[in-house]
């Protein structure tokens, strides 16, 4: 992939734009602003609506869902779907498994991604461009095709049906993006900081621990959140590598709501989706500020 020198202004903290318009233009600008605001509201509604729909559906009765317009407000609210969802599935265990897998994969993604980016971007070595290229290649490979070879390899080394069998490929395929985000961010850290530390006698390990690591916290949050979204919802690796009920993650657990010949208890499914999306949503809402900052900082250069 390509690198560009970061625009100088990005390196400094992004200034809050004042956007003080010239006085003469005010009337036109007000109109413009009202219009933009209206557009923003429409777009935001379109973005939020599905989540609202999801929660509303989980509160509908089955008959209401089947018969009426699925977009009208529910005629009666019920918590039945939730009790059915908990009775059919093993939601608690699924959430725990998803949590373990997401955590495990995230630790690998962050630690390994940071190490690789540090070696490539900060330490530097003769073939660093090539290694970077090899990592970035991974961004464009479709994961589906690696399934059969992966499965065969894993079964050889006895990795099947374990947490690791989900964690390792999930982390592996997410590593390129993580390396990319971290090395983009490391470019921000001014050379001089490192040089000063070096002059003070700090070696590569101390510099990593004392400078790079603490500075990249926002990027860590970004990497973790972006990957959590994908890993939390991953179906394809889990479906391939998990065999026992006790290891099923959420997307596999949701399969339990599918009945004979494809008949599905949709309202219970959506109740379960609501339950399972909630932890991710909460984490997202709590950490989104850090994530947005990390994204803006990490990716706002070429």
């Amino acid at each position: 992939m390509i690198t560009h020198p970061a625009p100088a202004a990005v390196r400094t903290a992004a200034p809050q734009p004042s956007h003080a318009p010239a006085r003469r233009r005010r009337p036109r600008l007000t109109l413009h602003r009202t219009l933009s605001r209206a557009i923003i509201v429409v777009i935001v509604v379109a973005q939020v609506y599905p989540l609202a729909w999801l929660f509303l559906t989980s509160l509908r009765t089955e008959q209401d869902f089947a018969a009426g317009n699925p977009f009208a407000l529910p005629s009666a609210l019920t918590l039945d779907n939730f009790s059915r969802a908990f009775a059919t599935g093993n939601l608690g265990l699924n959430i725990l498994n998803s949590f373990i897998v997401t955590m495990g994969a995230n630790v690998l993604i962050v630690v390994l991604g940071m190490m690789a980016a540090y070696a490539i971007q900060v330490l530097g070595f003769r073939l660093s461009k090539l290694v970077r290229g090899v990592f970035l290649m991974g961004i464009i490979v479709p994961v589906q095709i690696a399934l059969v070879p992966l499965f065969i390899d894993y079964s050889k080394v006895g990795l099947l049906d374990t947490y690791q069998s989900m964690i390792v490929p999930l982390a592996g395929f997410a590593l390129p993006m993580s390396v990319y985000l971290f090395s983009s961010f490391f470019e921000y850290i001014p050379r001089e900081t490192y040089e000063a530390a070096s002059l003070d006698g700090a070696g590569p390990y101390r510099i990593f621990g004392l400078i790079t690591l603490p500075l990249s916290l926002n990027t860590v949050v970004t990497v973790v959140l972006v990957n959590s979204i994908f890993i939390w919802n991953d179906f394809i690796f889990a479906n391939t590598f998990v065999l026992t009920e006790g290891l099923k993650t959420i997307p596999l657990g949701l399969q339990n709501y599918i009945g004979a010949m494809g008949k599905t208890d949709w309202t219970a499914t959506f109740a379960a989706v609501c339950v399972t999306v909630t932890p991710l949503l909460l984490v997202f809402l709590v950490l989104n500020k850090a994530m947005i900052q990390g994204l803006e900082a990490g990716a706002s250069k070429g």
Binding site: T88, L243, T244, M261
Partner: protein, 444 residues
């Protein structure tokens, strides 16, 4: 660098190739009663059935009973009800030679290759050895057989497929139960005129529409047509195939299926019928609990009836011969077959049928009586009774017959044909060339 790449490439092939053919079954597929000590351990069953369905519930209970006498035994049930996801999992496991002790499969060409490689136990021998073979419904066993008559899967259920219909909607449109398949397009036209959706169809899952392509050839030429067609020995351009193609084209032109049927799911289709919007619904006895009990919407409860697949003029098959599938079958892995697996099956299979019939479903055997649930309508018994009066032939669903590539293409082209996006002539030539190209790989 170059040498490294070369070494890696060699290692890569070796790793896969080893998995592909490095296995020899430790037990012969025909040695159904192995000698030796029964050592309890955990055995697994990879299956594609509803997680809280009766098959799983019953087998779980039987396994628990067995474990009481055999401490250390347990049955690990790995279910993936969504069929495409299941197939992906099953094929990946097969490729890595990691299939568990028991696994589900239809009598597909892929399964036949597994059987040919000696990876599955001979189910006919197994059932005979257990003294169960003769208690099975012949139709249930036949459904599981490969073309050569060999039997490698044990049926766990038995179903009959009917055309359910709404009497009052028929009356409203002045339509009577079609006496011949060829009457169906006209009935659809009349229903459409009365503002009624003629047939509710789950187009999303593909198999329901694919049933329709099998009806005319089965009536015109019997079950042999598809067994020749799949090997490219018969063609869609032959008379029975053409009959199917023109009939489906007519069904499409008569707007038999709801607009947008191809994106309609299972639940939507069933709701369209049970809410009184659609007049007909082609589904099997696995839906008896929704269609013939008091769970059915009261507004249509007294209007619902069913008819079996109509015949045609000059039909070579009889009215009591139609689709009667015994569902996805259970295969027994020959590689892991040992005294324990044999003993567990010996314990569980004879007890299974009675418990299964007690849930109100048709058992694959004839030696048990299905319990009619307390909330059933009279239709429930009427439907079950059809099972006692079946002919000797049955329609094999084509999705288990054709090679997978041709099958996928057929499903796609069928939708286009019925939607009017392709002409009967184009459909015929596309399908004939697809089958000619892909069949040889699977039916050598």
């Amino acid at each position: 660098m170059k040498r490294m790449l070369k070494t890696a490439a060699v290692a890569a092939v070796a790793a896969i190739a080893l998995a592909g053919c490095g296995s020899s079954p430790s037990s012969s597929p025909t040695n159904v009663s192995p000698t030796g000590q029964i050592v309890p351990r955990q055995i697994s069953w990879l299956l594609s059935r509803p997680a809280d369905g009766s098959v799983i519930t019953i087998m779980k209970k039987l396994a628990d009973d067995y474990a009481k006498d055999h401490p250390g035994f347990s049955l690990n049930l790995i279910t993936t009800p969504d069929r495409p996801s299941y197939i992906q999992k099953y094929e990946t496991l097969a490729a890595a030679d990691k299939l568990p002790e028991l696994f589900d499969t239809d009598a597909t060409p892929f399964a036949q290759q597994l059987a040919k490689q000696g990876k599955m136990m001979d189910a006919g021998k197994l059932l005979k050895d257990l003294g169960l073979y003769d208690s099975f419904r012949p139709a249930a066993l036949d459904y599981q057989r490969f073309d050569d008559g060999s039997l490698y899967m044990v049926p766990m259920q038995f179903e009959l497929e009917f055309f359910w219909y709404n009497k009052s909607l028929f009356q409203k449109a002045g339509v009577s139960v079609p006496a011949s398949l060829d009457d169906l397009p006209a009935a659809c036209t009349a229903l459409r005129k009365a503002g009624i959706t003629p047939i509710a169809l789950d187009g999303q899952d593909q198999w329901p529409l694919e049933r329709y392509v099998s009806y005319q050839p089965f009536r015109a030429a019997g079950p042999d047509y598809v067994t020749s067609l799949k090997k490219a020995q018969a063609k869609f351009s032959d008379a029975p195939g053409q009959k199917a193609v023109t009939w489906l084209d007519a069904l499409g032109k008569a707007k038999c299926f709801s607009d947008g049927f191809s994106s309609q799911g299972y639940s939507d289709a069933q709701n369209a019928f049970t809410s009184g919007q659609a007049a007909m619904y082609n589904i099997g006895t696995w839906e008896l609990s929704s269609l013939a009990t008091d769970k059915l919407n009261p507004s249509v409860r007294n209007d619902i009836d069913f008819f079996t697949l109509p015949t045609t003029a000059g039909s070579v098959t009889k009215a009591n011969e139609f689709v009667s599938p015994s569902g996805i079958g259970m295969a027994v892995n020959s590689k892991t077959y040992d005294p324990l697996v044999a003993d567990f099956l010996k314990f569980a299979l004879p007890k299974y049928a009675a418990q299964y019939a007690a849930t109100g479903a048709l058992a694959p055997t004839t030696n048990v009586q299905t319990t009619i649930p307390a909330n059933a309508t009279p239709l429930y018994k009427k439907a079950l009774d059809k099972a006692t009066d079946l002919g000797t032939k049955q329609i094999m669903p084509w999705d288990t017959q054709l090679d997978p590539t041709s099958n996928t293409r057929l499903q796609q082209e069928l939708t286009l044909l019925v939607q009017g996006n392709t002409s009967p002539a184009d459909f015929t030539s596309t399908m004939d060339s697809t089958i000619a190209q892909n069949a040889p790989k699977f039916f050598k």
